[in-house]
C-alpha cells in the first residue's frame, strides 16, 4: 500500500497487560492485521503495510520511545501520554480515543470518610490539616495530572507520594491518606474500601494513537503510513455506528416508493435510497431491492418501517468503513505539522 523506498517505519504496540489483545483486535477490525510469527516474539509485521516494523513494548515505554524518536508511531494509553507530555515535546496525539481500553483516573478516599464526598470537601480538609501542620498525603503514579487537577479545585496544601504497585492499599497500609489511580470498573476501589469522589474524575482515558512530530514532519514513508492508518481508523470508527440494510419490497413505481421512504427518517438513508429492480417471468418490475445505510440506534425502527412497506426479508450487515471526501484526522495531522 505504501510505495517503497526501503526505509522502515517503526510502530510500537502494547505488549502484556490489558491493552495488547484489544489493540490487535482493533487493528484487525480496521484492516491492519498484525502478523505475529511467534507469540513470544517482540517483533511483527503488518501485511497491509510492508514498510512497517511492529515492536511490542510496555505502554509507558511506547510513550518514551515515540517522544524520543526511537519509534515513529505508537498505540498506548492516553493516561500515560497526558501524564508524560510537556510543552514543546515531540509527542503528537494523532487519534485520542480509539474506542477501547477505557478507564478513569480518579481521586478516592477511604469509604468511612463520611464528611469527604467531593473535591470541595477535600479542599476544606486540606486547609484544616495544613493549619494543624498535618500533611495530606496522596499516593499516585500520576503526579502531574493530579497536581494540576487539585490546583484547579483550589486545593494547594498536599503532598504527593509517588508510588508504584498496589496504590489502592496505601490508605490501609498507612503511607498515604488517599489515592489517585486508574479504575475501569471501580471493583478494586470497592474491594479496598475506598470511594471515588463525586467530582473526582481527573481524566478519562482510552487507547490512543501517537506519533513523533519531527519524524512525521519530514514526510516520506512515516507520514504516509500515519495518514493511511488514520484514514482506516477514522473510517472504521465512522462505519461501526451504522448498519447496511438490504430489503426486498413489492413495488411497481420506484419513484413513489422513494418518496415514501424519504418521508421516514429512519429509512431515508444517508443520501436517500437506491433500488435494484426485481422482474417477474413477464419481464415486469414487481419488486425492488432497497439498499440503505442507517444509524445503529435506528436499526429496529428501520426494520419496522420496511415491514410496513411490505418487505418480507430484511438483511442487515455491519459497515466496515465509511470514507468521506477527505479524512478529518489527516487534516488535523497536517495542521499540527504546519502543512495544512
Amino acid at each position: 500500500m505504501v510505495r517503497g523506498t526501503g526505509e522502515m517505519v517503526r510502530l510500537a504496540l502494547p505488549s502484556k497487560g490489558q491493552l495488547e489483545e484489544p489493540t490487535l483486535a482493533f487493528l484487525e477490525r480496521c484492516g491492519m492485521r498484525v502478523s505475529k510469527t511467534n507469540p513470544r516474539q517482540y517483533l511483527a509485521r503488518m501485511p497491509a503495510f510492508p514498510q512497517v516494523e511492529v515492536l511490542f513494548q510496555r505502554p509507558a515505554d511506547i510513550f518514551a520511545k515515540v517522544r524520543d524518536g526511537d519509534v515513529c508511531l505508537g498505540i498506548t494509553g492516553f493516561d500515560i501520554v497526558a501524564e508524560g507530555r510537556s510543552d514543546g515535546d515531540e509527542i503528537l496525539v494523532l487519534y485520542e480515543n480509539l474506542g477501547y481500553g477505557g478507564c478513569d483516573l480518579v481521586l478516592a478516599v477511604p469509604e468511612g470518610w463520611l464528611d469527604v464526598n467531593c473535591a470541595a470537601d477535600l479542599a476544606d480538609l486540606a486547609l484544616e490539616w495544613w493549619e494543624q501542620g498535618r500533611p495530606l498525603r496522596i499516593a499516585t503514579k500520576y503526579p502531574n495530572l493530579v497536581r494540576e487537577f487539585l490546583y484547579r479545585k483550589d486545593i494547594h496544601h498536599f503532598t504527593l507520594v509517588e508510588a508504584s504497585g498496589a496504590i489502592e492499599a496505601a490508605p490501609a497500609i498507612g503511607y498515604a491518606d488517599l489515592i489517585a489511580d486508574i479504575t475501569a470498573t471501580g471493583t478494586t476501589l470497592r474491594e479496598n474500601r475506598l470511594k471515588q469522589l463525586d467530582d473526582g474524575v481527573i481524566l478519562h482515558s482510552e487507547a490512543c494513537f501517537i506519533g513523533n512530530r519531527s519524524k512525521l514532519a519530514r514526510g516520506g514513508p512515516a507520514l504516509a503510513v500515519a495518514e493511511q492508518m488514520l484514514e482506516f481508523i477514522e473510517a472504521h470508527h465512522r462505519g461501526r455506528r451504522y448498519r447496511s440494510i438490504l430489503a426486498n419490497i413489492p413495488c411497481h413505481e420506484p419513484a413513489a416508493l422513494a418518496r415514501q421512504m424519504l418521508g421516514r427518517p429512519a429509512i431515508a438513508g444517508l443520501r436517500g435510497p437506491s433500488f435494484l429492480p426485481i422482474y417477474d417471468a413477464n419481464g415486469d418490475c414487481v419488486a425492488v431491492t432497497v439498499s440503505i445505510v442507517v444509524w445503529e440506534e435506528q436499526l429496529h425502527q428501520a426494520i419496522q418501517e420496511f415491514r410496513r412497506l411490505g418487505s418480507t426479508e430484511v438483511i442487515v450487515s455491519p459497515v466496515e468503513y465509511i470514507f468521506g471526501a477527505e479524512s478529518e484526522a489527516v487534516k488535523r495531522l497536517h495542521r499540527a505539522l504546519g502543512r495544512g
Binding site: 469509604e111 483550589d154 494547594h156 496544601h157 491518606d177 474500601r193
Partner: protein, 531 residues
C-alpha cells in the same frame, strides 16, 4: 514553501559539524524563558543601575537572597494563588522551589539576620523570579524584579515614601508618564471578618479580587469559578436543624455508634472515628459560604466601579463602606497617604483610588498600589506594584509584629516603556597584528591602553588590514591600530577611521598611547560645536 524550508533545515543539519557524540541536534530554549541579547542587556542593566542609585539615595541597602528556597516559605503567607505557578520539586526529600517573588525571602532574611539592627531597615534587591504560567507578551516564566522593602516603617509616612521612591525610579529610567492605582486591602479584610467567612471562602474572595478587576474576566468569570468550587451542597435546612437542635456530645455519641455498627473503623485509613464524626458535625453546622462569598464579591464590585480620582473616589467609597457598616479606618489611612503624596508634589491626576483592587498575594494588610504606563483600561501591564504587609515578619517567625511595606518593578516591562537610549561603553579602537609573531606585542599594547582607561578590542581572526578596517567601521570604532615590524622592533600605526582618514606611525608604544589620549581629547573638542 514548507517543503523548501524543510529541505533547507535538513541541509543545515547536514552542514552541522560532527562532534565526538555524533552530529548534534540543536537544543532549544525552554518555553517562556528568554535570552537577553546585548542591546537589551545593556538597557536592562542600565535600568537596574539607575534604580539602584535612586534606592541608595533614599538610604536603601542592597541585599541578595538565594534563587531556591523551601516551598513552604512561599506557601506560608503568599497565598494559594502562587502555588500552581511555583517551579517546585522534591530534591533529596525536601520540597524546594525557584522563587516566584522576593518579599518572602527578604522577610526571612530579616528575621534570620537583621532583627537586632535598628529600625527601619531599608533594603533593595534585584534578580530573576520564576512563575509557571501561560507565556504571552509581557508575561514570561522567568523575569527580573527590582524591589524595595521598608521594614519597621509605619503607615502612612513609610507608604508615602515608598510610592514616591517608586515614581522617582520610573522618572530616573526615562518613564515620565504613568498612573498610580491606589487601594487598601483593609476594607475587604474587614468585610470578610464581619461576614465570618471560613478560611477557604476568604481565600477564594481575596484571590479573585484581581479577576473581578480584569475586563476580560470580571464577575461572570468569578461566578463560574464559584460554582465550580462550591457545588450545591446536599445538606438541607433539616440537616442543620438536626444538628443545631442537638447537643454536640449527643450527636457525636449517636454518630460514633452508627459508624461502629457499619464496621467503618476498618475503612477510615489515617483518620480516627472521632475525627470523621467531628468533620461531619462541622460540615453540618457550618453556614453555607456561597451567599456570604457573593455578598463580599458584590461589595468588591461596587468598590471597583467607584474607582476614580481621589476627590471623587474617596467620598464614594466612604458612602459604600458606611452602607455596609464597615470601618472607615482604611479610608482615613488612604486619605492620609494621598495627602502626603500631594504635599510632596505628586500631581493628583496621576492617582486613581480603587478600594476593590486586589493583588493576588494574601500577605498584604493595608495600602496596596500598582503603577501603569497609562490609565489602566484593558490589559495594560503594571510596571510596578506593592503594598503594606504588617503581619508577614511575625508569620515568618519574627520576634514581634513589625510593620513593613515594599514594592517590585518588572525590569522587562520598564525596558519596554523607557524612552531613553541605553548605550554601553563601546571600544574606541581595534588592535591587530600584521603577523602571528606580533600577537605578544599586540597584547602588551592593549594592556597599556587599558591601563590608561581606554576601551580597546583585539583582532582574533588574523584578518587582512582591509577586512579589519571594514569590521572596525561597521562596529563604529574610531581607530585601527596595526602592529607590524618585528617582535624585537615593533612598529605601531594609528589610523583614524573617520574622514579625513589619517595614519601616524610610532616606534614606541608609549608614543601611540599619548597620541591616542591626545586625539581623544582633541576629537572631543572638535566635535563639541557639532553636538
Amino acid at each position: 514553501m514548507v517543503q523548501e524550508l524543510e529541505e533547507e533545515q535538513s541541509m543545515e543539519q547536514e552542514r552541522r559539524p560532527e562532534t565526538p557524540l555524533g552530529r548534534s541536534r540543536r537544543i532549544e530554549r525552554l518555553r517562556g524563558m528568554d535570552d537577553v541579547l546585548p542591546s537589551a542587556a545593556v538597557c536592562q542593566r542600565g535600568i537596574i543601575g539607575r534604580l539602584s542609585q535612586v534606592a541608595e539615595s533614599h538610604g536603601f541597602r542592597p541585599v541578595d537572597v538565594p534563587v531556591f528556597e523551601y516551598t513552604e516559605l512561599f506557601l506560608r503567607k503568599s497565598g494559594e494563588v502562587l502555588a500552581p505557578k511555583l517551579y517546585s520539586f522534591t530534591f533529596y526529600n525536601r520540597s524546594i522551589c525557584a522563587r516566584p517573588e522576593f518579599t518572602a525571602s527578604v522577610g526571612r532574611l530579616y528575621v534570620e539576620s537583621l532583627q537586632d539592627e535598628p529600625l527601619p531597615q531599608r533594603l533593595y534587591y534585584h534578580g530573576p523570579v520564576f512563575r509557571y504560567e501561560k507565556p504571552q507578551r509581557g508575561r514570561r516564566r522567568q523575569f527580573t524584579q527590582f524591589g524595595l522593602e521598608i521594614i519597621g516603617g509605619e503607615s502612612p509616612l513609610a507608604d508615602a515614601e515608598l510610592i514616591l521612591t517608586a515614581c522617582e525610579g520610573l522618572e530616573a529610567v526615562g518613564i515620565a508618564s504613568y498612573c498610580i492605582v491606589l487601594g487598601h486591602i483593609g476594607a475587604m479584610l474587614d468585610l470578610l471578618k464581619r461576614l465570618k467567612l471560613d478560611r477557604r471562602a476568604r481565600n477564594f474572595v481575596l484571590s479573585n479580587l484581581e479577576n473581578l478587576g480584569r475586563p476580560d474576566r470580571g464577575l461572570p468569570y468569578v461566578e463560574e469559578r464559584l460554582q465550580e468550587l462550591y457545588p450545591p451542597a446536599e445538606r438541607s435546612a433539616a440537616h442543620q436543624q438536626l444538628v443545631s437542635g442537638t447537643r454536640r456530645e449527643d450527636a457525636r455519641a449517636v454518630l460514633s455508634a452508627l459508624l461502629g455498627r457499619l464496621n467503618a473503623e476498618s475503612a477510615l485509613g489515617s483518620r480516627t472515628v472521632d475525627e470523621v464524626v467531628d468533620g461531619v458535625l462541622n460540615q453540618l453546622s457550618r453556614p453555607d459560604q456561597v451567599p456570604l462569598i457573593r455578598q463580599a464579591l458584590a461589595l468588591a464590585e461596587q468598590l471597583h466601579r467607584a474607582a476614580g480620582p481621589p476627590q471623587k473616589a474617596l467620598p464614594a467609597a466612604a458612602a459604600l463602606l458606611e452602607g455596609h457598616h464597615l470601618s472607615q479606618e482604611p479610608l482615613r489611612n488612604l486619605t492620609d497617604i494621598v495627602e502626603l503624596l500631594q504635599a510632596a508634589g505628586l500631581p493628583e491626576e496621576r492617582i486613581i483610588v480603587n478600594l476593590g483592587m486586589g493583588r493576588g498575594l494574601y500577605y498584604y494588610t493595608g495600602m496596596i498600589f500598582e503603577i501603569y504606563p497609562t490609565l489602566p483600561q484593558g490589559d495594560e501591564q503594571q510596571l510596578c506594584g506593592g503594598g503594606r504587609y504588617d503581619d508577614l515578619i511575625a508569620a515568618l517567625g519574627g520576634r514581634q509584629r513589625t510593620p513593613a511595606c515594599g514594592l517590585a518593578y518588572g525590569i522587562q516591562r520598564l525596558a519596554a516603556c523607557t524612552k531613553e537610549q541605553w548605550k554601553s561603553e563601546a571600544p574606541q579602537a581595534l588592535v591587530c597584528a600584521a603577523s602571528p609573531a606580533l600577537h605578544g606585542q599586540s597584547l602588551a599594547l592593549m594592556r597599556r591602553l587599558r591601563q590608561e582607561g581606554l576601551c580597546v578590542e583585539l583582532d582574533l581572526r588574523n584578518r587582512s588590514q582591509r577586512a579589519n578596517m571594514d569590521y572596525a567601521m561597521k562596529k563604529g570604532l574610531a581607530h585601527l591600530i596595526v602592529v607590524d615590524g618585528t617582535p624585537t622592533a615593533p612598529q605601531y600605526h594609528l589610523m583614524l577611521l573617520s574622514s579625513p582618514r589619517q595614519s601616524v606611525s610610532f616606534s614606541h608604544a608609549q608614543e601611540l598611547v599619548d597620541a591616542l589620549l591626545g586625539q581623544g581629547r582633541a576629537g572631543g573638542e572638535k566635535e563639541t560645536p557639532h553636538g
